[in-house]
């Protein structure tokens, strides 16, 4: 069953094309990671999903409901952690959750929800006094109210310390275990890699890749990263590696050459360096990380 369906989705702000003909389907039960550098269009996509902005062209539906014409029906089944939100003035953390409970017309104990995100002891404090990380936890608590079928989380780990990020990952796993679908936008690649079944990479408003992480790895030629430590690195050595068939990227990092390449090209790279007179002190191979793949797909842009 398709949960999120975007067809030819475009959004233009004056002369800026924030989204450019995006087609995307997210299936029920999966955890989908949405990756992209700042300004790639991730938040615009989510803003359209939530009905905050209207697309210039194309359509988006969630559970078969059009996000513009039937936004309330969409949000009845969606829990949202929006980016750039602020808590309500004058309400405590508990009152925020109570507001979510009444808004969604469900019967839940706000203390239980707040305990789940680690805010039980701060429930009575005004939420405007919360730190950034606590605000993220509070928004997650409000999103979790009513066991939504879809969780939309826009940069959910912003402001969280490593423990907080780990706790959030645990909660997300619990949610997927009960059958929820998760749409997760982040520029923290480790977070996406840790929790997501499938990722989409957005750049300059265009969805340039959508696949599982292993699928993306295959797409860049087997996804092996070869780390070579030569006696000295120079441009000639890098160029020599880059010229080899099967080598996608070769960069210098901390005195080593990191090359993303097919399995077949690994030995060719070592031979080429030897022939070029470069002394190889050490080498090892690694699976390409999501960051390596992201750099490969976006041509060097950082998430």
């Amino acid at each position: 069953m398709t949960v999120i369906s975007a067809t030819n989705l475009s959004k233009r702000y004056d002369d800026v094309l924030a989204l450019d003909r995006v087609d995307l389907n997210v299936e029920a039960g999966e955890t989908f990671g949405f990756l992209g550098p700042n300004g790639a269009g991730k938040s615009t996509f989510i803003d359209i999903l939530l009905g905050f902005v209207a697309p210039s062209d194309g359509t988006m539906s969630v559970f078969g409901h059009d996000c513009q014409d039937d936004g309330v029906a969409v949000r009845e089944r969606v829990g949202v952690l929006p980016e750039g939100y602020a808590p309500f003035d004058g309400l405590s953390g508990r009152q925020h959750v109570e507001y979510a409970i009444r808004s969604k017309d469900v019967d839940e104990n706000p203390v239980d929800v707040l305990s789940r995100v680690g805010l039980r002891d701060d429930a009575a404090r005004p939420a405007t006094d919360y730190s950034k990380g606590m605000r993220q936890r509070l928004a997650l608590a409000m999103a979790l109210v009513g066991e939504p079928d879809l969780l939309v989380l826009d940069e959910p780990t912003t402001g969280l310390d490593p423990n907080g990020a780990a706790e959030m990952r645990t909660i997300l796993r619990e949610e997927t275990d009960r059958g929820a679908t998760i749409f997760f936008s982040s520029h923290v690649l480790e977070q996406v890699e840790a929790v997501c079944d499938r990722v989409g990479i957005l750049q300059n408003g265009r969805l340039i890749a959508t696949d599982t992480i292993s699928g993306l790895r295959d797409a860049i030629g087997g996804g092996t990263k070869l780390v070579i430590t030569p006696a000295a690195v120079d441009d000639d050595a890098l160029d020599a590696v880059r010229r080899i068939d099967g080598v996608e990227t070769a960069v210098e990092r901390d005195g080593a050459i990191e090359a993303t390449c097919t399995n077949d090209a690994k030995m060719d790279a070592l031979v080429e360096l030897h022939d070029a007179g470069v002394e190889v002190v050490n080498f090892r191979t690694e699976e390409a990380s999501l960051e390596d793949m992201f750099v490969e797909f976006t041509g060097g842009a950082r998430a």
Binding site: G51, V72, Y85, R102
Partner: protein, 268 residues
């Protein structure tokens, strides 16, 4: 009915804030003082119906100011802070959000008006005044409608802009134009027409109708109509025939237009 959830939240927020509480106490105090002095300085007979005509002058300045104060922060404050994103992540429609905010804020003002009027009614009736229950009820309802009109104008201003400061400026400009400028301009036009020797005819009628089209004049006309028994006197546009639709129009018009605009705009 999710508008109730929103209205309840705004009701609580308003009652927890200091300035609205001071405004509400001030409103009740003004109405009560007016009721206390009315039997002393008013003309016979002392009735709750005639009290309405006496108190409109006192309410003419204070109700619009409190209404706008209650309304202008309804949407724009949260738009500016980012809390609007949280509010709209819940399963509320945008129209419902604006309507709920209006109902919650107007409800607080209405409760204060009812309390003030109950105290005032008792002060007018005891010991020598007369209670006209239906007309007094109508006076209370009209005063609530007038207060709600100004809350609606404040909420409308709030829904049309993106920052709290813009909403305050827009609401205060509306207040200034409708309370002060409107009367001054229509009085000037009336004087000009008379000076030109035009004592009747369509031009004079248009000028006189224009003077009745602001919410304050409509409220005054309706409250005065409650106090007089001879309803045949005066032109049709000086009575409830025009004033009632005008007040209803101001009550729902600005809010409806703002909802339409707010419903379809990008909130990024």
């Amino acid at each position: 009915m999710t508008w109730r959830v929103i209205a309840r939240r705004d009701w609580r927020l308003l009652l927890d804030a200091r300035l609205p509480k001071i405004a509400l106490v001030g409103l009740v105090a003004v109405v009560s003082i007016a009721a206390y002095v009315y039997p002393v300085i008013g003309t016979e007979p002392i009735t709750t119906s005639r009290f309405g005509a006496f108190v409109t002058g006192w309410l003419g300045g204070i109700l619009p100011a409190i209404g706008v104060l209650f309304g202008y922060g309804a949407i724009a404050r949260e738009h500016e802070s980012g809390a609007l994103r949280l509010a709209l992540s819940m399963p509320h429609g945008r129209s419902t959000l604006v309507l709920g905010r209006f109902v919650g804020r107007a409800g607080v003002l209405a409760a204060a008006i009812v309390v003030g009027m109950m105290i005032a009614g008792a002060l007018v009736v005891y010991p020598l005044g007369t209670l006209h229950p239906l007309r007094f009820l109508a006076l209370v309802l009209l005063t609530v409608a007038h207060g709600a009109t100004w809350v609606g104008i404040g909420v409308a201003a709030s829904a049309l802009v993106t920052t709290n400061r813009q909403a305050l400026v827009l609401a205060v400009v509306a207040l200034f134009v409708l309370v002060i400028v409107w009367d001054a301009v229509t009085a000037g036009a009336e004087a000009g027409v008379v000076a030109a020797g035009i004592t009747d005819g369509p031009i004079r009628t248009v000028v006189q109708i224009g003077a009745q089209l602001d919410p304050g004049s409509a409220f005054d006309t309706l409250v005065t109509a409650l106090a007089v028994s001879d309803r045949s006197a005066g032109a049709w546009y000086d009575g409830p025939t025009l004033a009632l639709p005008v007040l209803i129009g101001w009550l729902f018009g600005p809010l409806s237009l703002a909802i339409l605009r707010f419903k379809w705009r990008d909130l990024a």
